[in-house]
Structure formats: C-alpha cells, structure tokens
C-alpha cells in the first residue's frame, strides 16, 4: 500500500457534497444546488425548449457541473466518485429540466452510466413521464475499433456536444431534432488521450494505475482503462505525431475539412505544455490541409491529478460553426 496522495479535503465520505456546495456558492448567478445534490441552471431556459440532462461520476471536475448554464446543459446529476448516479436521481434531474419541450438525457458511454440511464427511462415510463429520450455519446477511438463506434466510451471530446447541443436546444429545436444534432456532433468527433502519471482515488487515496517513470500510455481512459499499449516517453512533438494520424484516419478528416480542436488537461499538465502540444497539432493540420475553425485548451474533464491530455477534433459544417459561436454561459465555459 502506497502513501496517500496529499489532498486538502475533510471527511472523505463528504467530498462530493462539500465540493458541490462550494461550487454553487461560487457561481450563484449561473447555478443552483438542490437538496438532492443536483446542479441546475439558476435561471431555467425558456418554456417549450428541450431540457438537457447529463449524469456522471464525480471526480472529473469541472465536468460536468461547469457545463450547466445558458446555452449549455440544464441539469447535471453528479454521482459518487467515479460512479454513475442511480436512476431515481436521474429521474429527479429529468423532472427539473422539463420545460414543456421534452427532455434529452445525455449519456457519456460507460457501463454504469448507460445502465442507470436505461433504468431512469424505465422509471419515467412507469411514472407516465413522456417526452424523454436518451442519446448515447462516445468519442474515444482507443476503446473500440472503427466499425464498432457504438462500443466506444465517452471522454473529453463530448465537450463539443455539450456546447453545440446546448446552443441548439436554445433555438427551440424539437426533441427528435436535438437528439439528431447530438448524434451528428458525436459522429463528427474523435478523441485520443495519453496518460503520463496516474490520478488517485480521493476517497481511498490509492493511485488508479501504475506507469513507469519513462512510460506513457496512449489511449488510456479517464479511469485508467488500458489503451493501445505503453510507450517510452517522448517529446511533445513526437507525442502529437503519434496521436494525430490515428485520429485523422478514423473519421476520416480530409484536406479541405474544417475542424475544431480541443486539448483537455487530465489534471496536472501545465498550460505551457498544452500550448507546446497545440503548436504541433496546428502545424500538422496545416500540412494536412485541414482548417482549424477554433481551438479550446484547458482543464475541463479531469481525473484528479492525473497527468496527461486528450486531443479531440470535431469536423464542422456551417450549422455546427454557428452553434459553436453561439453564446454560452456556464461556470467553466463562457462564450
């Protein structure tokens, strides 16, 4: 048993609640914390609009609490650390998001999230709550081969879906239209992540996986799920040179395409490293004839203090560009 990682917390069993209380007190004009521990928009969206709900295990902050707000998600249902919320809490989130236009339950594809979302939908049906649909979202190319996209898991690249779907729902689009748009963004997005050093589970204090000093793992998931194998640590340019081609080949992105680029900090990378990495991404995309419509770089979906990053690209057409540029006001995403 290794030593506990240094963390400034109180009683480990209270960390989720205390984190949510602090977050809600910091951003009272944007979000509100309910008694049941859900994060909802401080001002609900207009009547008749489709409500957007996302559940997730806690421990990945600012995902997803930071993406609740105008032009983004309406309700986030946080679970325990790295554990999906149960169905009753998800149903509570669906009720809170209902504004008369139906509710789209967004599911970042992990076994627990999918099962609990399915049970929540069964509960809604049993209780006569109609106009509720779910959409399964995924982006990580390392978790299943091409052709088996629906087996892939949801990671940082879902960022594009939160932003564009949030903007789309504000326009008064219908529930089926919102679901189709979420699928469109999902199907235009590809992500690959790399891990350098592990995060720790904040409750047990145990590291989540082990990597040698001079090793990285390309394709590692947000909970330390194994990727495409371990490699020797290389410099920033060589790392991007190894990661970008499989991403481009998977969609595929072609010369003449326009894309949004997102580099997500898994926890303890420096902003300096991320800019150095992005420099190489931009160079490589230039060389491939792929236009960059916009870039976003920072810590948005973390795994505690894990060192590593996820590189996500989303191919955009005029519709998606408009939705990307639309206003949004969440605690961790303002546009």
């Amino acid at each position: 048993m290794s030593a506990r990682h240094k963390k400034l917390i109180n009683q480990p069993e209270n960390i989720v609640r205390e984190m949510l209380e602090g977050f809600a007190r910091a951003y009272p004009s944007i979000v509100r914390l309910t008694d049941a521990g859900l994060i909802v928009r401080a001002q609900p969206k207009g009547a008749g609009r489709v409500g957007l709900v996302i559940g997730n295990g806690s421990g990945h902050e600012p995902a997803m609490i930071g993406f609740v707000g105008a032009g983004l998600m309406d309700v986030n249902v946080p679970g325990e650390i790295f554990s999906a919320p149960g169905p009753e809490r998800i149903v509570e989130g669906i009720r809170l998001a209902e504004r008369g236009g139906g509710v789209l339950l967004c599911v970042s594809h992990h076994a627990g999230d999918r099962m609990n979302a399915e049970m929540a939908l069964e509960l809604c049906a049993a209780e006569g709550l109609s106009g509720v649909e779910m959409v399964l979202l995924y982006d990580d190319i390392s978790s299943a081969p091409k052709g088996q996209e629906a087996e892939r898991r949801g990671t940082a690249g879902l960022f594009f879906t939160w932003k564009m779907l949030g903007a789309y729902a504000e326009t008064g689009a219908s529930l089926p239209q919102c679901k189709a748009l979420a699928e469109k963004v999902r199907d235009a997005t590809r992500t690959l992540a790399v891990a350098l050093t592990p995060g720790t589970n904040p409750i047990s204090g145990q590291v989540m996986f082990a990597l040698a000093e001079d090793e990285i793992e390309i394709g590692m998931g947000v909970h330390g799920e194994v990727g495409q194998g371990r490699q020797k640590l290389q410099d920033a340019d060589a790392t991007i040179d190894a990661m970008l081609p499989p991403i481009l080949a998977d969609l595929p992105f072609r010369a003449g395409d326009e894309a949004l680029v997102f580099i997500n900090n898994s926890g303890s990378m420096t902003q300096m490293e991320l800019f150095i990495l992005y420099r190489r991404v931009a160079q490589r995309l230039d060389a491939a004839g792929i236009g960059v419509y916009g870039a976003w770089i920072g810590a948005y979906a973390t795994t505690q203090e894990m060192a590593g990053f996820a590189l996500s690209l989303c191919r955009v057409d005029d519709e998606l560009k408009r939705l990307w540029d639309a206003p949004a006001r969440g605690a961790y995403f303002v546009r």
């Binding site: 554990s83 149960g86 809490r89 609990n116 399915e118 589970n201 047990s204 145990q206 909970h223 799920e225």
Partner: protein, 208 residues
C-alpha cells in the same frame, strides 16, 4: 424465513469481507466495490425493524431501490436489478417456498443479463450468479430442501467466481484493463459468491 433478517446476514457477510472485495476491485477497477456494497447493505439492514412485518417482495424491493439509488454505478444497477426482478417474481406471496425462490433467482439472473448484456464467460458477476441459480434450481427440482439448494448454489457461485481469474473481461471498466485482468478474480463475481454464501449460512442455521 424473515427476509429482513436474511438481508441482515448479507450485510454481516459484506462487513467481514469488505476489504477483501476492495482489494480485488483495486486490481481491475476503482477499489471501492466492498465499501460501496457494504454501505448499501448497512442502510438496508438499518431498515429491518420497519420491514419486519413486510412481505418478502416488499423487503427485496426496498433492498433493490437502496442498491440502485444509493450505491449507483454499474454495481448498483446490476445488484438493484437482481433484487428488483426477484421481488416482482414473488409479489404478493406471504412466504417463499423453494420453488418460489428458484423462480425468483431465475428472474433476477435474467434481469442482470439483460441489464448488463453479459454472458457466462465475460468475467462479470454473471459467472457466479448463473451457476448459483442453476444449481439452486436443480436442487429444488430434485425435491431437496432450500437449505440444501443454497449449499449447492453457494458452492457453484464460489467455483464460478474463482474461474473468472482465467478470463479476460468483455464488459464494464475491467474490459479496458485487457490482459492485465488474467489471474485476477472479478470483484463482482466474488461479491455474488459472498451473497450466496451468506444465504447458505442463514439457511444452515435456520433450516428449511
């Protein structure tokens, strides 16, 4: 049988084996399976006094809802489904015969397999649950008492759980641990074996 007491026996089993389950889970997952399961059953056991007079189905349903809603994650969903489907199968019965329990566990197994999409051999709790349910059903169909059926079920569940060390996971987070899972017993299969061992111990003591 008093099902509130039965679930209390399960709680005692998980209290004793919590750290062992956490250690198994740490190899392939978050390392919190024992704690999460024990916390949920502690809450269930705490409700035993108010449920003492309730029908078995109501007690099983209360356990299911606690597992689903308080535990969360994949384990909460799967164990919750096991107990919920079991409760639906024996709805309105005042006491459960061996035949009732055989049907109840069969319904639970079917629910777990539907919910998780796992088959035998996928390195999940199904690898312990399926043999346990089949062994229980066989014993009852041969006219044996429930206590003997639980002996057979617990032995089958333990055997199935141990055999998961020879498998590579195809579902859940453990799937992404890949070949590293070889040699490791699946924590969900281990906790299912403990569930049936707790049931066996209870019936050993109470007979029937």
């Amino acid at each position: 049988m008093n099902w509130a007491e039965v679930l209390g026996a399960v709680e005692a089993m998980y209290a004793q084996k919590r750290d062992e389950l956490n250690a198994l889970d740490a190899a392939l997952g978050d390392g919190d399976h024992g704690t999460a399961l024990h916390t949920a059953f502690k809450e269930i056991a705490a409700r035993a006094p108010e449920l003492a007079q309730a029908r078995p189905a109501e007690i099983l349903k209360a356990a299911a809802l606690t597992l689903m809603n308080r535990m969360g994650g994949s384990s909460g969903a799967l164990y919750g489904t096991l107990f919920l489907r079991a409760s639906v199968e024996v709805k309105d019965l005042d006491r459960l015969t061996g035949e009732d329990m055989a049907r109840m566990w069969e319904a639970g197994l079917e629910g777990v397999m539907q919910r998780g999409g796992a088959q035998v051999g996928d390195k999940t709790m199904v690898d312990a649950l399926a043999p346990a349910v089949i062994a229980f059903r066989d014993s009852i169909s041969q006219g044996r008492p429930a206590a003997e059926a639980y002996e057979a079920a617990a032995a089958a569940a333990r055997f199935g759980a141990v055999k998961t060390s020879e498998l590579v996971a195809k579902h859940g987070r453990a799937k992404f641990v890949g070949q590293r899972a070889l040699g490791q017993i699946d924590a969900g299969a281990a906790s299912t074996a403990l569930l049936f061992e707790a049931l066996r111990n209870y019936w050993r003591e109470k007979g029937g």
